[in-house]
Structures are given as structure tokens and as C-alpha cells.
């Protein structure tokens, strides 16, 4: 299991990469993709959609089940990784490369963990 040092992590297994003070990319962690299994569908918001920390921003589906993706941030969607709509398996193959959305105008956030703290959390759940 991989926990890159330069990212922050939500307790609901999303990673956050701040690109400026109020802009960040959000994706699913290696632990999340491993628990979900092979993903076959991704449902993402649209550019301009407001999203709220702690609420679903979209969902991902494996053969077995659908799972919500929770937003760790409150802000506005400024970009969506459209490539994932055709290749959801990229999340399994490269979870930290396969960002889901970029968020700008961030005004609030969930409690975010460091890589070390997040690894401890996953070891408790795994």
C-alpha cells in the first residue's frame, strides 16, 4: 500500500493535493481502490458545480457495488478528469495519478491527515 508524503488524506479515503492556497486536486487513495476492487464506472460532477466538505461529490462503481466519493473540501469544481469516464480502471492502476476533480475557491475542509496518520488509520481498517 502506497501513501505519498506530499498529499493530505481524508478519513473517508480521498487524497487532496493543494496546488495553491485555495485550489486542490482530489482523488481516491490506494487503500480505497484496493477495497473497492476493479472500478467499471465513475460518476463525476460538472465544472462549476459547488461541492461541500463531507457530502458526496460523485460515485464510483465496481461490478459488485456503488460507493459514494465524499468531498473533503467546500468549493467549486474547476476541472474534471474526463478521461476517467472512459477508463475508470485508471483509478485502480494509478490512484494518485488519476485525480477526479480540481476544486477552487476553497472555503472549508474536512479534517485532513498526514500520510503517516492516514497509514495508521488504514492499518486499523484493513
Amino acid at each position: 500500500m502506497n501513501y505519498p508524503e506530499h498529499l493530505l488524506y481524508s478519513k473517508s479515503h480521498e487524497w487532496v493535493e493543494f496546488t495553491s492556497e485555495d485550489t486542490a486536486k482530489v482523488g481516491l487513495t490506494d487503500f480505497a481502490q484496493d477495497q473497492l476492487g476493479s472500478l467499471v464506472f465513475v460518476n463525476l460532477p460538472e465544472v462549476g458545480d459547488p461541492i461541500t466538505a463531507g457530502e458526496a461529490l460523485g460515485d464510483v462503481e465496481s461490478v459488485k457495488a456503488v460507493s459514494d466519493v465524499y468531498s473533503p473540501l467546500t468549493g467549486t469544481v474547476s476541472a474534471v478528469n474526463e478521461d476517467l469516464l472512459d477508463t475508470p480502471e485508471a483509478i485502480n492502476q494509478d490512484p494518485y495519478g488519476a485525480w477526479l476533480v480540481e476544486v477552487e475557491g476553497i472555503t472549508d475542509r474536512e479534517e485532513l491527515l498526514s500520510a503517516e496518520e492516514y497509514e495508521t488509520l488504514c492499518q486499523g481498517e484493513g
Partner: protein
């Protein structure tokens, strides 16, 4: 407390991800549902289906009992043949769907769904005709399903080809597979070529290892319940509790071929007559909108509710999302466009011919 099949330790050893299912602890997957599904379509997969129930019918009136409690007809059946049948309640709903193996003129093996085993046995024991004995032998038996185009080549590495059952839905009893006595049938629940092997419970771990070893070079992989479900859905085979239940009649869910209305009498026949021409029908849906439609989604034609889905997911070999559904007859013709309500939004789907996949 869930029961363990004779292969529980083997599943742990092989890295199976264990879940409770129908009262048993079974692997939902090993390396992944999609990989296992594709292996069965293109090479072979091995499944532990020991949770299935087996009931042995013996006695001079065993045939009469089966003809009374099942909707299919067994009088013309030859020894060595397998036949599918629903077993109906007096209201014409389905108690279970099952397989009958004819071992001898006065000896039949019934294979039932694990989740229904107790309900079935109670019902059967209350409806025996004349000289018939029915015995639940499930705990003494294990069942492995070897499925996929490479299955024959794998088995012929262990058994001479002449010893194997040839036609679909035939079987051979007491086949020696590396010293283990097996009943082998040309049956399965995947839509691909394959066999099911029954042996004594205590022999199951050795049989599993023997088959995995024989299939090592031929692409054989261990498979879990997840792939079993996607494979049967891709092949459009109905599953008890989904496409049928105690309320749904076999005629509504497209099992007419196994309901012999011309047969003198069987439990549920009068109810089927009284219920008349079915108002609903089982259909296949190909998802044309974005998303996946799973079971129990309400189906709409415009604003009119016309049915519900009974199973559905992304199908790995067809690489698209499909579902099966029970819909009003007027909306069951291929080409009909419907919408499913999924998590607060509508996803479009089109009625298509069954089966989705034909091996």
C-alpha cells in the same frame, strides 16, 4: 453462525476474500471478479459450490413424487440425464428452482439452492407420494464447478475422455479422478462449456488441489461468488430470490420450457391456470444511458411505472452494463426504451433479446 464448506481452509490458503452467503462462509473473489469472469470465458475457472443442497429420492414412487412436486416432467427421462425444474407452491409461486439427476429408475438426486435448503426439505417431506424416501445428504457432499472452454482438456489430463459425460445435461457417476470417486455432469451456471463434480465432503480439498494442479498450465483460476453471479447474469440465467421467488410464477419469469401444463397434475398447476395469461414478463435490458442499473430499480416508461429490475451490473465479457427485469407485457418487446431510477436519477435502457451472451 455461518457454516464452512469442506473447502474453507483451501479458500484461505488460496487468498479468497471470505464473505457470508446463504448461511455459508464462501469466497466472493480471489484476484478479482473481472479477471475470474474473463478466465471462465476464455480458459477455465474452478468454483466451490458445496453450499448447494442435495436431496436423494429413493423408492418405487420417487418418480411420482418428483412429477407431483416439480412442474417439469420426468417420466421420459433416461438414467444419466439431468433436468431443470421449478418447484411450485400451491399459489403458483416458486419455492425453488433445482436440478434432477436420474441415477436409476428408483433413485434421483435433487440439487437445490443453499438459501432454500431447509424450506425445500420441509416442503418435500410433507409432500412425498407412496413409497418414496427423501434424504438431505448436503452435508456429506461437496460440489466443485469447473467451467470454461479449457475444462475438457483439464479433465482429460486426469480422466479418459470416454469416462466423461458428453451431451449437455448428462452425467456419469463414479468417475475416478486421481483416486477420488466423483459424479461428473455437463452442467453449470456460467453460460460457458463446463462440468460440475460432486464428491464426498472429505475428498473435496484433494479434488480442488488435483484440478488446480491439472489446470495450472491451461489458465485455470480459482473463482468466487462474485464471478459466479456476473457469469450467470451475462448468460441471462435466472437466480432464485432475484428473477423468481415465492410470489413470481415460472411463466412470468420465462421458465415456460420447464412447466408442463399438459402433465396430469402437479402442485401449483391449478393456480397457474387460475392466474391466467401472465401480465408481466422477464426481459433483458441494455443500459444506453450513463451508469449501472442494479437490482430493485423501479422502471418507468415516461412517468408510468412498468416494472423493476431483478439483477444488474457491468458485465465483464460484454464490457457494458446490463440488467434483467420483470416488466408489464406491453413494455417487454425488444427495442422498447425504458428508464430506471437509480440513486435519484434516471438511466435509460433498452429491452434486448435474452440471453445477453451465448457461449
Amino acid at each position: 453462525m455461518e457454516k464452512k464448506t469442506p473447502l474453507y481452509e483451501v479458500h484461505l490458503e488460496w487468498g479468497g476474500k471470505i464473505v457470508p452467503f446463504a448461511g455459508y462462509l464462501l469466497p466472493v473473489q480471489y484476484q478479482g471478479i473481472i479477471e475470474e469472469h474473463m478466465a471462465v470465458r476464455e480458459a477455465a475457472g474452478l468454483f466451490d459450490v458445496s453450499h448447494m443442497g442435495e436431496v436423494l429420492f429413493t423408492g418405487a414412487d420417487a418418480l411420482h413424487t418428483l412429477n407431483r412436486i416439480c412442474s417439469n416432467e420426468f417420466s421420459d427421462m433416461k438414467v444419466g440425464r439431468v433436468r431443470y425444474s421449478p418447484m411450485l407452491n400451491p399459489k403458483g409461486g416458486v419455492i425453488d428452482d433445482l436440478l434432477i439427476y436420474k441415477m436409476a429408475e428408483d433413485r434421483y438426486l435433487m440439487v437445490v439452492n443453499a438459501a432454500n435448503r431447509e424450506k425445500d426439505v420441509t416442503w418435500i417431506l410433507g409432500n412425498l407420494v407412496g413409497d418414496t424416501k427423501a434424504e438431505d445428504i448436503s452435508d456429506e457432499m461437496a460440489q466443485l464447478a469447473l467451467q470454461g472452454p479449457a475444462s475438457k482438456e483439464i479433465l482429460t489430463g486426469l480422466v479418459s475422455e470416454e469416462a466423461l459425460p458428453k451431451g449437455y445435461y448428462t452425467f456419469v457417476d463414479q468417475v475416478d479422478v486421481a483416486g477420488i470417486s466423483c459424479l461428473i455432469s455437463r452442467t453449470g451456471y456460467t453460460g460457458s462449456f463446463g462440468y460440475e463434480l460432486y464428491c464426498k465432503a472429505e475428498c473435496a480439498p484433494d479434488l480442488w488441489k488435483t484440478l488446480m494442479e491439472a489446470g495450472k498450465e491451461k489458465g485455470l483460476v480459482p473463482c468466487g461468488l462474485g464471478a459466479r453471479d456476473t457469469l450467470r447474469l451475462e448468460a441471462s440465467m435466472p437466480l432464485y430470490g432475484h428473477e423468481m421467488d415465492d410470489e413470481v410464477s415460472p411463466l412470468e419469469t420465462g421458465l415456460d420450457f420447464a412447466v408442463k401444463m399438459q402433465k396430469e397434475d402437479f402442485i401449483g398447476k391449478q393456480a397457474l391456470i387460475d392466474r391466467g395469461e401472465p401480465a408481466i414478463s422477464r426481459v433483458g435490458l441494455k443500459v444506453t444511458g450513463r451508469g449501472i442499473i442494479r437490482e430493485d430499480a423501479t422502471l418507468f416508461a415516461g412517468e408510468t411505472r412498468v416494472g423493476r429490475t431483478t439483477s444488474g451490473t457491468h458485465l465483464p465479457y460484454l464490457k457494458a452494463a446490463y440488467a434483467m427485469a420483470l416488466v408489464e407485457k406491453a413494455y417487454s418487446a425488444p427495442g422498447t426504451v425504458l428508464e430506471a431510477e437509480v440513486r435519484g436519477r434516471r438511466i435509460a435502457a433498452q429491452v434486448v433479446e435474452l440471453p445477453f451472451y451465448k457461449g
